[in-house]
């Protein structure tokens, strides 16, 4: 028997999770849809000239994704904080890796797909209505050029280069945040959302203090552009000389720092899952 990973056993876990939680998930999606409709209604009521512009769509999509995704992430392993449920969950004959991957399947992939589908289900008619209203009521006078349709914001591809960068950054930030909340749901037995938020704030504060104090640790004639780019001042009048990492190393380190955090947090989640006890 493979005690580490078995695809059939993992799929059984995924199926069991769905059967046990489907009602909760359907109700949650309905609640999210209700909240989105309310926000879209608010946008229509407050911007009568260009409602549902791509800026609104971008804001609505990613604000919801981050807030709801992180909250859901903090619930994925919440049962481990409840003695009765933790006993049943940890006693189920599946490996800890399979249990983690099942949680990630729903928390990372399932939620992203379900949330995106729900967003477009509401966004498509909302942009149609917006275009209709703009033409019908706000295109005045008629001899001016016809307004461009607001267009549907595409989360994966965008013709707007500036927004592509925003999109990638938003997705990366979302993954880092959500993986932190998933780890928090294993780490903290109770109030994991609040405790993870506080822990992150403390870490951000420490990081901020580190970065603001780092230049003081450098030699007197150095200052810092970013972690990988330093400036050296010399001569009179002073001239600036760049001290750079090799480009490949800078790219590699930037990539690792940017993209590896979710992987790191998922790995730590697995370790914590293996260490989890049912006390009390």
């Amino acid at each position: 028997m493979n005690n580490h990973f078995n695809l059939n056993r993992w799929w059984m876990l995924v199926t069991l999770h769905w059967v046990e939680n489907r009602r909760r998930y359907v109700l949650s999606l309905l609640a999210i849809a209700g909240a989105m409709i309310a926000i879209i209604g608010f946008i229509f009521a407050n911007d009568r000239h260009r409602p549902m512009s791509q800026n609104y769509q971008f804001g609505l999509y990613y604000t919801g994704l981050c807030l709801i995704g992180c909250f859901y992430g903090s619930l994925i392993f919440a049962e481990l904080g409840r003695k009765r449920e933790a006993t049943l969950y940890l006693s189920l004959p599946a490996s800890q890796l399979e249990k983690l991957l099942c949680g990630l399947f729903y928390g990372v992939i399932g939620f992203f797909v379900a949330y995106s589908l729900l967003f477009y289900l509401l966004d498509l008619p909302a942009t149609k209505i917006a275009d209709h209203l703009i033409i019908k009521y706000y295109w005045k006078p008629r001899n001016t050029p016809r307004p461009e349709p607001v267009g549907i914001y595409n989360i994966l591809t965008s013709s707007d280069e500036y927004r592509v960068k925003d999109t990638i950054a938003a997705l990366v930030i979302y993954q880092v945040l959500q993986s932190t909340y998933i780890l928090g749901s294993i780490y903290f037995s109770r109030y994991s959302f609040v405790k993870t938020t506080l822990a992150m704030l403390v870490l951000f504060l420490l990081g901020f203090l580190f970065l603001t104090n780092l230049p003081r640790a450098l030699p007197a004639n150095f200052d810092l552009d970013n972690l990988f780019r330093w400036r050296r001042h010399s001569g009179n009048p002073p001239e600036h000389e760049w001290v750079l990492f090799p480009a490949w190393l800078e790219n590699l380190l930037t990539g690792i720092i940017t993209y590896s955090l979710p992987l790191l947090f998922w790995f730590v989640s697995l370790v914590r899952l293996k260490e989890k006890e049912v006390q009390g």
């Binding site: 056993r9 199926t15 059967v19 006890e277 049912v278």
Partner: protein
Amino acid sequence: MITIQDLHYSYRRKPVLDGLNLNLQPGYIYGLLGKNGAGKSTLLKNMAGLLFPRQGQIHFGKYIPGRRDPGFLQQIFLVPEEFHVPPIRIGEWVRYQSPFYPRWSTEMFNRTLKEFEIPEDMRLSELSFGQQKKAYISFALSTGASTLLMDEPTNGLDITSKSQFRKVIAGSLDEQKCIMISTHQVKDLENLIDRITILDQGKILFDESLDSISRKLHFGVTYDPQDIPGALYSEPALKGTTLVTANTNGEDSRPDLEMLYKAVMQQPQRLNAVFKN
């Protein structure tokens, strides 16, 4: 089957199990007795891999419980005192959870459910606490797990259900299976267990088979006050005084688990000395 060596466990700094040694064999039902806080539930959780020994070792064949390997979890099932049932129908529960247990028996599950008089078409969350517990026990027995650990299984069961429980457990034991039942309610275990293990302050205070107890001890009633000083334990009853004495004459008597428990708690050394002879 399960070997426990020098097991220590503590919650933060409070020691609960203190150098405990125990060996469980298949084909027996073990009764685990002890005061509140004696460490019974902690011992069961350590055996089930839900707690990890702070010191010492537990072996279940080739498995170490703390690793919670699927192969191990298929062979051991803990019925905790406080348990959770998923909010789904009994049929769905069986359909989606039983495939995790390769030795699962639907026939056994249906039979036990019938014995316990549980309606099969209901949601688990709609059942009463006692019915949920009986459904949980039915599930545990049907998994085909070779070791069943039960923590206060009769808590919350009515009188009829308790006798159903005894019947079901006695009927489910075979040569490959080992059952350990932890309880405060010793009367519920009478005529059921083969071996009694009494835990106190994290240590095994007493661990003997019922056969051995029958041979070495005598449980009786006396009206003669002169019999009392020589007894291992005595207490006044409605008629006369009930006694636990060393069975020096080889007389037959039915072990009274409650009296035995009290005797062990009061005079563990004297009682164990009887068994060493």
